[in-house]
């Protein structure tokens, strides 16, 4: 295989940008939880980076991108342990080293698992989450990545278009979040008690880092530097902006206020919606997709109150719902191949992704809850995870309350 220097430089840089999204997510989510749980949220995100990267290298990468085991359902273990780093990735015609590709895809697996910390906010065990994230990456993420991303996957072969992970990352995490919310149950006091964000400035900084990293996520998914990467980059920026505008327009109309949290959430909703589409649509279509993503997000986050599931930080509403909208809009707005046939294939991908992710995540979460435990005891939840689970507090305003032991 021929390795192109420019492509390699861009994909490696993009991989680092995507990694940076997860600490960004830690800030985005950390600001939204109550001050007694902010460190627990952040360390779960750091933990996701560590555990998923390890699992990815050992086995999950091969299950996702290894040679197909038959039927386009799962890869074999030929690439387990990142073996054969100089051989072309099955089905691809990459101009970057396979290890650069493996590293880039590793960061996708990391952030997809990390998104689930938003659903489990305020009540998920740290150790239980790490076990869950490891199993989930193997059982839920790797197969869906194989179906949709790998040229040997069955949905890819049917012609499903997912440029940067509308199915693999967004719908996958949204449907998994719903299952996780059911297994974990509601937070103590939800929805009656006030659970307002403790620091929206952290959330805004986090949204900014996600936005920045998303250029690597989307434009990097071209897996080369050139026209397609440039289109994906521009689509990403435009959709983030119209996502913001769509969200705050609707909330201004519904509640009378354009909020900071709404603006930050709208950015993410627009970015989610453009993810499957960014390299397949033109710039004006990207404006529309982002706007519809923002409008979908602000309407979808109300659903948890109507149906009574405690998806604490709205992973279902923002990633699930906006991911579905973006994936379906590819069938309508793609520059090549748009039409009833493509729309049907996109809808099929949405349905099977939701079905697989919801069912298998429910099973994995249930198993972890029954074995090592996935939810903290009530008294820990009431006192706060930071002091009880991690023996730290995020904000120390003086030394009156403590003396040095020993």
């Amino acid at each position: 295989m021929i390795v192109d220097a420019g492509d390699t430089a861009w994909v490696l840089g993009a991989a680092a940008l995507v990694l940076f999204m997860t600490p960004g997510l830690a800030l985005f989510y950390g600001g939204m939880v109550r001050s007694k749980n902010v460190l627990a949220m952040m360390v779960q995100n750091l933990g996701a980076i560590a555990i998923v990267s390890v699992v990815w290298a050992i086995v999950a990468y091969s299950l996702a991108f290894g040679p197909d085991a038959g039927g386009g359902f799962i890869g074999t273990l030929r690439l387990a342990g990142l073996a054969h780093p100089n051989a072309q990735v099955p089905g691809y015609h990459l101009t970057v080293p396979p290890l650069a590709f493996a590293a880039f895809q590793m960061m996708f697996a990391v952030i997809t698992a990390a998104l689930l910390t938003g659903t489990g906010a305020d009540r998920m065990r740290f150790g239980g989450f790490l076990v869950f994230a490891a199993l989930w990456s193997i059982v839920v993420y790797a197969p869906i990545a194989h179906w949709v991303f790998s040229p040997e996957g069955w949905l890819f072969k049917r012609g499903v278009l997912d440029f940067a992970g509308g199915n693999v990352v967004e719908i996958d995490s949204g449907a998994s979040a719903l299952a996780l919310a059911f297994v974990l149950g509601r937070r103590h006091g939800w929805p009656r008690e006030v659970m307002a964000p403790h620091s929206l400035p952290l959330t805004v900084v986090g949204a900014g880092i996600l936005w920045f990293g998303w250029f690597g996520f989307n434009a990097g998914s071209a897996l080369a530097s050139g026209h397609v990467a440039a289109q994906a980059f521009v689509s990403t920026q435009l959709a983030a902006c119209t996502g913001l505008l769509g969200w705050i327009l609707v909330e201004r109309w519904r509640t009378g206020h354009a909020t900071t949290l709404g603006a930050a959430s709208g950015v993410v909703a627009g970015l989610v919606a453009i993810t499957p589409a960014c390299g397949y649509v033109n710039s004006m279509a990207a404006l529309l997709i982002g706007f519809l993503g923002g409008v979908t997000g602000v309407l979808a986050v109300s659903a948890k109150f109507r149906f009574g599931y405690d998806d604490a930080l709205d992973v279902v509403g923002v990633h699930g719902a906006c991911g579905v909208v973006g994936t379906l809009l590819v069938g309508v707005l793609a520059m090549r191949g748009a039409g009833a046939h493509l729309l049907g294939e996109q809808a099929l991908a949405v349905i099977v992704t939701i079905g697989w992710a919801f069912t298998l995540t429910y099973a994995v979460a249930w198993l972890v809850e029954r074995s090592v435990g996935l939810r903290v005891p009530p008294q820990v939840e009431i006192e706060g995870l930071d002091t009880v689970v991690h023996a730290e507090s995020a904000y120390d305003f003086g030394n009156v309350r403590a003396t040095r032991m020993g």
Binding site: A196, P197, R254, T259, V301
Partner: protein, 112 residues
Amino acid sequence: MRLVTAIVKPFKLDDVKQALHELGVEGMTVSEVQGHGRQRGHTEVYRGAEYVVDFVPKVRIEVLVDDETAVQVVDAVTTAARTGQIGDGKIWTVPIDDVVRIRTGERGPDAL
């Protein structure tokens, strides 16, 4: 000796402090508190979830003075903290049995 306690709007703290200094009152204790009388709180909205915030930020000022000064302090704070709007706060005084200046051990009026 009396303890004068005043709950006032936070932005009026400087005016009250100035008025007390003009009276010759040398010390005070200030704390940031939350509460409400007739003033209503406000509503906050986070992703569509509305919360009513009942308690309004206030500043609590406490001054220990002799009985005569207490009357002047109450008048001075009343003038300095008034805006005429709901939520201006309250002042009350209570008698104090004893006061000790920790540094010297002085007691009673000498310690003020």
